[in-house]
Point group: C2
Chain length 395, copies 2
């Protein structure tokens, strides 16, 4: 067993997915973990799972980790600071500035509190869903402030390193603005797009492909939880969305310009005599004069938004944001156990490394499409190899 | 060889990804395919790939398939209708009403033209990227109109069935409204969200997770092509986006209400005496009076958007839209060839069918996370089985 950096007991308040996962990770390093929850049943379950022990009057925790829903996080922190006057307290809520402000306003001893936020899992799920390895390799923000000393906050750093997460330091404001951008605004955007589908005809929805599925996947998130999260980080999220709305307004101006100009499908060829001798300008933008002048340049306005999207997605870490480095191959896979494994095994036998993989199922079909990303130089060899083994390559 | 339903030659104009794929699929059924392109090099390459032959003066095609970029589709259709007065002409552009209108306005013989649109591949890529199986199981819309007879249009139906696609009939207007909803508006939304990242601090972008990656994946699309597509389908796309903007405005009103109310992190506990004896109401919504009255009910407004998103995404076909039917398990996989195959093989050995799979890579880590979807009743057994074989399960 690798020993913990922590020297004392750790009290975990709230044994949902996050709290139980923290407790299990600490237990794996031999830490004395004390479990507390407003539900005695949850505490019993977490103890059964080996996450720690129940509280006693003699407890003197070194560190308290508050893992309760966002709407009660601050009040629980205040209570814990008061009940354990020698403990350092942290929390794992996804919003940090309002929590810190509330703790300060409540007059609590903020010299022993520093907020944190692991970017892993969800703030939902019972103790049964806890995993000791949940935080391995994930960013975990510590939102420092001037009232807590480096030495006192070190216990929180130890916790994060014990659990195998990557420590990220930023202020509470920076954190809240960051998660507004990378998590809260994307949730709203996904929900807004998915909401457009509610009253759409079946035939339209039947044409949906992988792009729409990706954009709307997180729209399946739990509304009750997200009302709390968005409510707690309302101003930073609104700021991101206002920027997006300004760009959207530009797009609408551009689309209105395009609609009134109406040249993009070759409608400029309505005077066929004038273009009869024209060779097909594949891919060229037509600069033919239009009936309605569009001085703002709708093509350029649209291109700005689309190119801005290119530039934005290219900044994302991980392989999904760098798709252009890889070539994609779509292989048909029967929807039976082991078929995809066989495909990947045969790719491995061909010595080709899988860089990314996406699955797509045609509506109602007993066949799936596996989109395989590989290095561009491997495509030809892999295609030949898979064809030789009888795989059907769809694109 | 399965015989073609078509009785004559097929002329394919434009041998990019779509044109070449159509040609290859028809050649596999023994059809005489004539290839044409503004680039003689592309025609030569497509011929080398076995997609057909070059044109001759004696050609009398039964069917002509126009596969050129959207901004020249209508003019090429008009030209082909005129050059081959006995052929039926179709096209594969992703927008249908403006093309039909332009062909009618040009005075062409619209009794021999019917537009179509295969929901497969992209309108981009050279003849090298063509695949005979590209359309298998994919929807392919035929946008019928009153001027073409059922009998004449039958050649287009034969083409679609020959290529293994699923025939979907709708009007040109219905088609354009449908793709505005399921393809063009999602592209704009994804680009708008990704564009927000351009000027963000590195630290913020470093916190990005799988949700943001999904929402912004198609923001990597080619701007030049999408300016054409959006320009050609401007009005229907703008209509979808205006509906989205109205919802976004509601969300902003709600967020402003939440920001001025500011109760969601337990800040209501700023009077600690009043709540000192209060047990932690996990997950309950606080109805405490707030300093700023929000008569519109910001929680309800946010919940409507989020719940609307739930309802919308649930309508999508395929397994991604039905995630709730499955339980997810996240397994750590070394980023080396064959590791994922080994995981799936061992799942197969355990008799557990893989319902869906997503890969995620931690920034800079030599380890990936495989999110496996399985039937809920299989989770316990699979977890035990994978643990026993030494796999690390992360959540």
């Amino acid at each position: 067993m690798v020993e913990s950096r922590l020297t004392g007991s750790v009290r975990v308040v709230g044994v949902g997915l996050l709290g139980t996962s923290i407790a299990l990770g600490l237990r794996a390093r031999g830490v004395d973990v004390i479990l507390s929850d407003s539900s005695p049943t949850n505490v019993s379950i977490a103890i059964d799972y080996g996450a720690g022990r129940s509280a006693s009057d003699a407890d003197e925790p070194q560190l308290i980790v508050v893992c309760v829903p966002p709407d009660v996080t601050a009040s629980v922190i205040v209570r814990e600071l008061s009940a354990y006057p020698r403990a350092v307290v942290t929390d794992v809520a996804s919003v940090k500035k309002p929590v810190l402000d509330a703790v300060i306003t409540a007059g609590a001893d903020v010299t022993r509190y520093v907020g944190s936020h692991p970017l892993a899992g969800r703030e939902k799920g019972g103790p049964m869903s806890g995993r000791a390895d949940l935080f391995l390799g994930r960013p975990w923000v510590v939102a420092g402030h001037s009232a807590i000393s480096y030495q006192t906050a070190a216990a929180v750093d130890d916790l994060i390193l014990d659990l195998g997460a990557t420590l990220v330091e930023m202020t509470a404001e920076e954190h809240d603005q960051s998660v507004a951008l990378v998590s809260h605004a994307p949730q709203v955007v996904s929900s807004l797009m998915a909401r457009r589908l509610v009253s759409a005809p079946d035939a339209a929805v039947g044409l949906a492909g992988g792009g729409l599925r990706d954009v709307t996947r997180i729209a399946a998130s739990d509304p009750a939880l997200w009302v709390q999260i968005l409510g707690a980080n309302a101003a930073p999220t609104a700021e991101v969305l206002r920027g997006l709305r300004a760009d959207l307004d530009e797009v609408l101006v551009a689309l209105d310009g395009a609609a009134s100009a109406g040249v993009d499908t070759g409608a400029g060829a309505v005077a066929p005599a004038a273009r009869a001798d024209r060779s097909v300008p594949v891919g060229s933008g037509s600069d033919a004069p239009t009936s309605t002048p569009t001085p703002i340049g709708w093509r350029r306005m649209l291109a700005q938004t689309l190119a801005g999207g290119n530039a934005g997605v290219a900044r994302l870490p991980g392989k999904h944001g760098q798709d252009k480095r890889y070539a994609q191959l779509v292989v048909m896979v029967d929807d039976t156990p082991g078929e995809l494994a066989r495909l990947l095994t045969e790719m491995g036998e061909a010595g080709v490394n899988l860089e990314d993989l996406r699955l797509e199922h045609s509506p109602g079909a007993q066949i799936g499409l596996a989109e395989i990303s590989v290095l561009p130089e491997a495509v030809e060899r892999l295609t030949a190899e898979l064809n030789a083994r009888g795989w059907r390559i769809a694109g």
